[in-house]
Amino acid sequence: MRGRHPTRRSQQEVQLNLAAMLDMAFQLLAFFILTFRPAPVEGYIALRMPPAQPLTKPGQTATQPTDVPIPTTSLPSVMVTVTSQPDGEIGSIRIEEGQPVASLSEFEQQLSNLLSVPDATFDQLVLQVGSRLHYENLMRVLDVCSRIKFASGEHLTKLSIVELPDAGE
């Protein structure tokens, strides 16, 4: 046939039937639309948390927060005690053996004053937390702690969290 009817061959048009491909494309599109679930933008507070040191010696019962001995850690640490109310709210916040602070902003101010002195030897913070404290309120305290800077300008990242027994609240 080649060469006998060159004009007829050149006039033929090859038409693809796109309807089937369009059907498939729409099915793929429907799948992706139905399974599309945008992930919410979440933030995080990153902490390095080695296992906590025991608060009481073996055979010793837990006592009131003010009587809790400072754990013997290898790093010099600041102890912060956060008690909880029965509904999970913050009961009181106390730095070391000081008086309870009135608010989180005051807590931030006092902790900042304590850690930002140039000759401060503290390297980590031990957070004693009431067992009923809700995660939301724990994060509010961690939020404050993560904003604290040492005199060197570095943020506080070494933190241990230990649980206060119910009897201590």
């Binding site: 494309a25 992930a39 507070i45 809700h134 993560s146």
Partner: protein
């Protein structure tokens, strides 16, 4: 033009532009699809924290723990025993880490970050059980997830 010839004409729409558009939409959804979000339990109400950094880094070597307000661990929609699940994940992480560092043994620090996604009403007592199980298995790096919001000082 005769009447019979007019009737035999077919009206065929040009499907090429609509096919182009559909393929572009498919490409868009394929690019933005995030299968890792399947490990996140969206029913949890995370707390809102001011200084929570947005997690813009790629989530490599992470262990996501979704904890509801009853302290139950949710993994891909299923409730699992926290201690058993964390121990098995630690074993897997240890075997993976031993490929690069054969001297690593159980209890050593694992190069995996634990992502804690807990409901805002979870008591610390229940959360601490999970944290202690992680620490006992060798996890040291933690990320506490929250929604970014106004800081405490701005409230």
């Amino acid at each position: 033009m005769s009447a019979s010839a007019h009737l035999s004409e077919k009206a065929e729409p040009n499907l090429t532009p609509i096919l182009d558009m559909v393929f572009q939409l498919i490409t868009f959804f394929m690019l933005v699809v995030n299968f890792k979000s399947a490990s996140l339990d969206m029913s949890l109400k995370l707390p809102v924290v001011g200084s929570a950094m947005p997690s813009d880094s790629p989530d490599r070597d992470v262990l996501v723990l979704n904890i509801d307000q009853d302290g139950m661990l949710h993994v891909y929609g299923q409730v699992k025993d926290a201690a058993t699940y964390i121990a098995s994940e630690a074993q897997t992480a240890l075997r993976t880490a031993q490929l690069e560092n054969p001297d690593l043994k159980f209890g050593d620090e694992l190069p995996v970050t634990v992502v804690i996604r807990a409901d805002r009403a979870t008591p610390f007592r229940l959360l601490n059980q999970v944290i202690r199980a992680c620490q006992a298995s060798g996890f040291r790096k933690f990320q506490y997830r929250a929604m970014s919001g106004p800081s405490e000082a701005a409230r």
